[in-house]
Symmetry: C2
Subunit: 362 residues, 2 copies
Amino acid sequence: MSFQFELIKKKGEARAGKITTPHGVIETPVFMPVATQSAIKAMSFDQLDACGTEIVLSNTYHLHLRPGEDLIHQAGGLHNWTSYQKPFLTDSGGFQIFSQSRLGKCKINDQGAEFIDNLAGNKHFISPEDSITMQNKMGADIIMAFDHCPDGGASYEATKEAMERTHRWAERCMIQHQNSLEQKLRPEDQALFLIVQGGIFKDLRAQSVAALTQHDAPGFAIGGVSVGESREDIDEIVKYTTPLLPENKPRYLMGIGTKEDIVKAIEAGIDMFDCVMPTRIARHGAFFDKDGVRQLIKNSQYTADFKPLDSSCACYACTNHSRAYIRHLFRSQEMLAATLLSIHNLSYLIKLTNSIREEIFS
Amino acid sequence: MSFQFELIKKKGEARAGKITTPHGVIETPVFMPVATQSAIKAMSFDQLDACGTEIVLSNTYHLHLRPGEDLIHQAGGLHNWTSYQKPFLTDSGGFQIFSQSRLGKCKINDQGAEFIDNLAGNKHFISPEDSITMQNKMGADIIMAFDHCPDGGASYEATKEAMERTHRWAERCMIQHQNSLEQKLRPEDQALFLIVQGGIFKDLRAQSVAALTQHDAPGFAIGGVSVGESREDIDEIVKYTTPLLPENKPRYLMGIGTKEDIVKAIEAGIDMFDCVMPTRIARHGAFFDKDGVRQLIKNSQYTADFKPLDSSCACYACTNHSRAYIRHLFRSQEMLAATLLSIHNLSYLIKLTNSIREEIFS
C-alpha cells in the first residue's frame, strides 16, 4: 500500500479521514502514543495494541544516540526491530535538540545543529541531511523534516530567522529523502512531512504555510507549540494556522495531548497528535478519571476503594483491577502500577479521540 | 471443589499428580512463581498466565506490613484483591522473619517472634496464631504453618530446639485454623500445610516427619533448606527426607528453583516448589538459554544478535523480540526489558517442569 490520505467528513473545521500507509490504515483524528526509545515505557506492544493504538511515534534523537540508526536498519527497520507491525512515525530530533539548546548545550546555524547529548555528554553535529538519513534508515512509515524550533518566548526576529531556516532545511530534507531512495536506504513509500514554524506570530505562521505548501509533501505538521508560550497563545495559533493548510493532506500538531488540547486541536482541523504525557504521568501515579481530570492513585481516599480507575472504561486495568490494588502496587513500587496506569491513560485518550471522530460523522 | 491430592504415576521416587483446589486443578510437579507483594514483579497477571502458571505464591510477611491482611480480607481475599482466579498459596512469614533474625532484628521464643520490620523499622510480634489468622483472612487456597526456620549453619542443639518449637507451633496453627473456620474468618476449603524442619541432620528430619505426620494435614513441606547450608547438604537432606513423607499428600520444597534444584527435587519425590530467582535475575538482565544456563543480555555479543533469547521457546518474549532489541531495552533502562526477561525465565522453568512431568508418564 502506498501512502494516501482521504478526507471523509468535515464538521465545522473538524475532520474525519483515513491515512493509508505501508503498515495499515489509520483513522483520523488519531492520538499517537510515544515509544521514545522504541518501546512504550512500562508496556508491551500487545498491551499497547489493546489500548486501540493505530500508530506509534519514536524519537530519532534518542534512537540515534542508542542503539543507533544503523543497527535498526540492519534489523530491517523499526517494524522488525520492535516486531510491531502497525505504522510508525519518527520525529526529526529537532525538538529534542532545541531542548538541549535551552540548557545552553546547542548551537544552531545554517549547516545544522551542534549539541552536547544528555546521555554521555558527547558533542554531536546533525544536519537536515543527517536527520533524514537516520529516519530513512529506521524506516518509519512517516518521517518528519528537520526543523529549527525556537523557544516559545523568542522574539519576532529570532522566530522569523528560525522559520526561514526551517524552510531552507525543508528543501534539503526533500532532496536527501529523494537521494536515499536512489541509494535504497529507505522504504519506497516512506512519507516525509514538512513542519510549519513561526511561533506565536500569525503573519509568520501564514508565511510558513505559504512557503512549505509550495512543495507537494504528503503531509504537514505544526511545530513549535507547547514550547513555553501561554495556553491562550497555543490555542490561538493552532486555530489560526490549521485551516491554512491544504485540505487534502493530513495535519499533525506536534507534542499536544491533554484532553482540552485534543478537543481544541480537532476542532481546529488537526488530524494527528502525540504526547508522552499520559504514560509519563502514569509513572508518577496519576490517572484520568471519567471526566479526564488527573487524580493521584496514592491518595488515601483510594485505600479501600475497590472500584476501577474509571467504571466506564473497558481497558485491561479497569476491567481487572481496583483503585485499592493499584494504589498498593504504586506504594510498593511495583512496576505493574506504572503499566496499569499507562494502559488506562492511553486507552482514555484514544477512546476520547475515537468518540470525537464519531461525533464528526453524526 | 474441595482440596484433594491424587497421585497418578510414579517413576522411581518421582511423582506425577493432581491437586484440586477451590480455584482449579494443579498438575504436579509444579513450579510456583512468587508474587511477593501480591504482584509478580514487572508482569501483569495475563502475562503470568501465558507463561503456563498454575498457582502463585504470595508472602504473608510483606502483605501483613503493606497493605495489611484486613484490607485484602475486605476486598474478598487474594483472588478478588488481585483479580487472579487461579490457586494462591501464602507462606507463613516464618522465613522472612528468620531473615531478619540474621540481621539481629528478631527474637524468637515459644510465644512467637518479635522482630523489627524492613519497611519502617517498627517492632512487631507474630505468634503462630497470628500468622494463621493473617493467612486465613487473605484466603489463599493453600496456607503454611508458622515454623521456626534456623540458620543453615545452626548447631544440632539449636536446630533440634527450633524443630521441636515448630512441632508445638504446628499444633497451635491447626487449632487456630479450626477456630478461624468457626469464626468464618476463612474459606471452608483452605488447606493448611505443615512444615518439616531439622536442618542438615537426618535423624532430626526423620523425627520431624514422624511428629508432624501424626496430624492428618492436607500436605507437607520441607522447610529450612537453602538457608546457608552447602548444595551437597541440601541435595542429601531432600533426597533423604522426601520419601519419608506420606505418599498420598502433596510435598512442597520451599524456596528452590534453579534448573538443577528442580530436577533433583522432582527425582526425590517433590511435587511443588517456588523461587523468586527467575524473576529477580531477569530484573538484573539475566536469562536462561536453551540449556538453562544463565546469560547476561547486556553482553556486547548480543548487540546485533537478532535471534530470540531461546529459539526453541514459544513464550511471548521469544516469539516477538530479539536479543539485540531486549539488550537495547535493558541498557536504556526500559521496564519492558525486565518484563520480557521475566516472562522468558518463568516460561523456561515451567516448561522444564512440564517436560519432566511428561517423562514420568513415559
